[in-house]
């Protein structure tokens, strides 16, 4: 997991939270959905702003798709409200909601051509024939499918089908576009490419996207903000770098990226954590908790240095034996067993090619990290 901490993505005209328009485009308040005794969505509240690219990230079965289907109107909530543009959507049937959904299976109509698929939504609005034809042609050009308009869905490749599904939603100019795992069915190369096309389209059209994904790197790349979900609840809602750098809980830290956790108690100076498997750990920023409070120190594998020689200063360093090396090409993940028998992961960039002195399994090594590296988690 080599997601760089520092994001250098050009910040888009930042969502309305800061400037003039404080009202969110989509407001979800205390939303619950129960299937039998299973709470798919559990008292969830969330604001999504106009022009935002929002990602719902979570393991499968966490309720993210159910949340999307609640917004689209395919499921009725047991409690709570969904308000779009100040209008409560509860009495609005799915076919009158100004939101559109792109299905994971794409759900293209197999008996209609690409053009007819894209035109379907506009026909329902009763627009004049000429306008429909014009908008369909424009949209097909936008997704680079203008030459395939007369084909049937089963004559298209996976990537082309994905773009038809996208075009079919976009042509409706929805207030919010809901995307359910839009890239899951594509192979890796195409997925990487399509991701950027998706961001480009969103920026170009100035639309609000809500994407559901279980792929954290996908969420990190495309989204302005990420809502991390687990068991029907939002664990944390924040910008991708904040989720990664300052996860709100051990669960989020562990789910987004890789993490090493050391349990201990806050030191008297509030600048250290004592009694961890790695001994006393120094923390750069004061910990916002009383001394003796149990906390967890989380360190990302790429923040950990690995060396054969003992580091000069003895702070935040621990000795161990390499158990396993996972070679990923650009980085290698070293699994190191430390004194108490637990394993610590360290990611080392393979910058020197096959240098002679790279650590080997069973080598005794030193792990160290700076006081700035750890994240202190209360829960």
């Amino acid at each position: 997991m080599q997601i760089t901490g520092a994001k250098d993505r050009p910040t888009k005209s930042s969502p309305a939270s800061v400037d003039g328009n404080p009202r969110p485009l989509l407001r979800i308040e205390g939303l619950s959905k129960r299937f039998g005794s299973f709470m798919a969505v559990d008292r969830l509240s969330l604001d999504i702003h106009a022009g935002e690219f929002f990602a719902l990230l979570g393991p499968s079965g966490c309720g993210k798709t159910t949340l999307l289907r609640l917004i689209a109107g395919f499921e009725r909530p047991n409690a709570g409200r969904i308000v779009l543009d100040g209008v409560d959507l509860a009495p609005v049937p799915p076919y009158r909601r100004p939101v559109n959904m792109m299905f994971q299976s794409y759900a293209l109509f197999p008996h209609l051509t690409v053009e007819a698929n894209v035109a379907f939504g506009l026909k329902q609005e009763g627009l004049p024939r000429g306008e429909i034809a014009g908008r369909v042609a424009d949209m097909l050009a936008l997704v680079k499918l203008e030459s395939l308009g007369t084909r049937k869905p089963n004559e298209l490749s996976g990537g082309q089908r994905q773009r038809v599904a996208l075009a079919r939603c976009l042509v409706k100019r929805p207030r919010v576009l809901l995307l359910d795992e839009p890239l899951a069915a594509l192979d890796k190369k195409l997925r990487d490419l399509t991701r950027f096309e998706l961001m480009e389209l969103q920026r170009q059209l100035g639309l609000t996207f809500v994407i559901v994904t279980h792929d954290q790197s996908e969420a990190m790349i495309v989204a302005d903000r990420i809502g991390v979900m687990d068991r029907g609840r939002l664990m944390q809602v924040a910008a991708p770098d904040e989720i990664y750098e300052r996860p709100g809980s051990r669960w989020v830290a562990d789910f987004v990226g890789d993490i090493n956790l050391f349990e201990g108690r806050v030191g008297d100076d509030r600048l250290s954590v004592e009694g961890t498997a790695a001994g006393r750990l120094r923390i750069a920023a004061p910990i916002g908790a009383e001394p003796r409070t149990p906390v967890w120190v989380a360190v990302r594998p790429e923040r950990i240095r690995l060396s054969h020689d003992k580091p000069p200063n003895l702070e935040n360093c621990l000795a161990g034996t390499i158990v396993e090396i996972g070679y990923l090409g650009d980085v290698s993940i070293y699994q190191v067993r430390i004194a108490d028998g637990s394993r610590v992961k360290a990611a080392v960039a393979n910058t020197d090619g096959n240098g002679g002195d790279s650590p080997q399994p069973a080598d005794n090594v030193w792990l160290s990290f700076s006081p700035e590296a750890p994240i202190v988690l209360m829960r």
Partner: protein, 266 residues
């Protein structure tokens, strides 16, 4: 994996012969020049010509055709609605009862179906004739339609309907513009099966018919009791042709839906 052994070939030949030899003989004898049914006298089409002049038979054939058309259409509409209800509305109260009640006529002996309908018509004092046969055949064929359409609907990707609604189509328009076109081949196949069933039914029709509504099977059966005329062979051959054709087209269509029904996945 597939092995063509002598045993397999033998089994197939025997099976097919068992099924179709009587029909082949019937068709051959319909071209017999001889007046005696069981004696071969050479090729001729005279019985077909004579058939064209037999008003009673033609009248019965016309009645049968009308009954089959009307009852197949009614059974298709009702059966499709039942299938949609069974598949789409999930678990409603009494679903199991509804399902088994629809399938019951499938296994019910025709004599019982016919007799019960006769009793019903007598009880409500309906004059038996064309429409009572139509109602009886609709009842009989509806369950077959439901089974065929239901099997198609079960495979139907529900997200297609959701997508249509999401794009702004209300439920009825979604059904007409998305669901119906996609299950149409199954519906046509079901109609054809219902048509064939009605066309060759003797038992139920003879219980429920009345004066002036003699169907072809009834006509043939009563003619045969007075001795088989070679003319009957000709009628039967034509019938075999029509029914065989309908069943063939129906099964081809059903196959076609199967092929087109599974939406291509990436």
């Amino acid at each position: 994996m597939r092995k063509v052994s002598i045993f397999n070939i033998f089994a197939i030949v025997l099976g097919i012969a068992f099924l179709y030899l009587p029909i082949v003989i019937l068709v051959i004898y319909s071209f017999n020049v001889s007046r005696l049914v069981a004696v071969w006298g050479g090729w001729s089409t005279r019985w077909y010509a004579e058939l064209a002049g037999d008003n009673e038979i033609l009248q019965a054939a016309f009645t049968s055709l009308r009954v089959a058309l009307v009852s197949a259409s009614a059974a298709t509409v009702l059966g499709t609605l039942a299938a949609v209800a069974l598949v789409r509305f999930g678990r409603f109260r009494g679903r199991l009862l509804f399902a088994s009640m629809i399938y019951a006529p499938l296994v019910m002996p025709e004599v019982i179906t016919g007799l019960s309908l006769l009793l019903l018509f007598v009880a409500v004092e309906v004059d038996r004739g064309f429409w009572t046969v139509v109602i009886a055949h609709t009842t009989m064929a509806m369950c077959f339609v439901t089974v065929i359409v239901q099997s198609r609907l079960v495979d139907f990707d529900i997200s297609l309907e959701e997508a249509a609604m999401d794009l702004g189509a209300p439920p009825l328009r979604t059904f007409l513009s998305i669901t119906l076109p996609l299950i149409l081949p199954a519906i046509v196949a079901a109609w054809m099966l219902a048509f064939a069933l009605s066309l060759d039914d003797l038992v139920v029709a003879s219980f429920t018919t009345g004066p002036g509504a003699t169907t072809l099977p009834i006509r043939i059966y009563s003619a045969v009791r007075l001795g088989v005329k070679p003319e009957i062979n000709a009628v039967c051959s034509i019938f075999v042709g029509i029914v065989g054709m309908t069943v063939l087209i129906a099964s081809l269509l059903a196959k076609l839906t199967g092929a087109r029904g599974t939406p291509a996945r990436p």
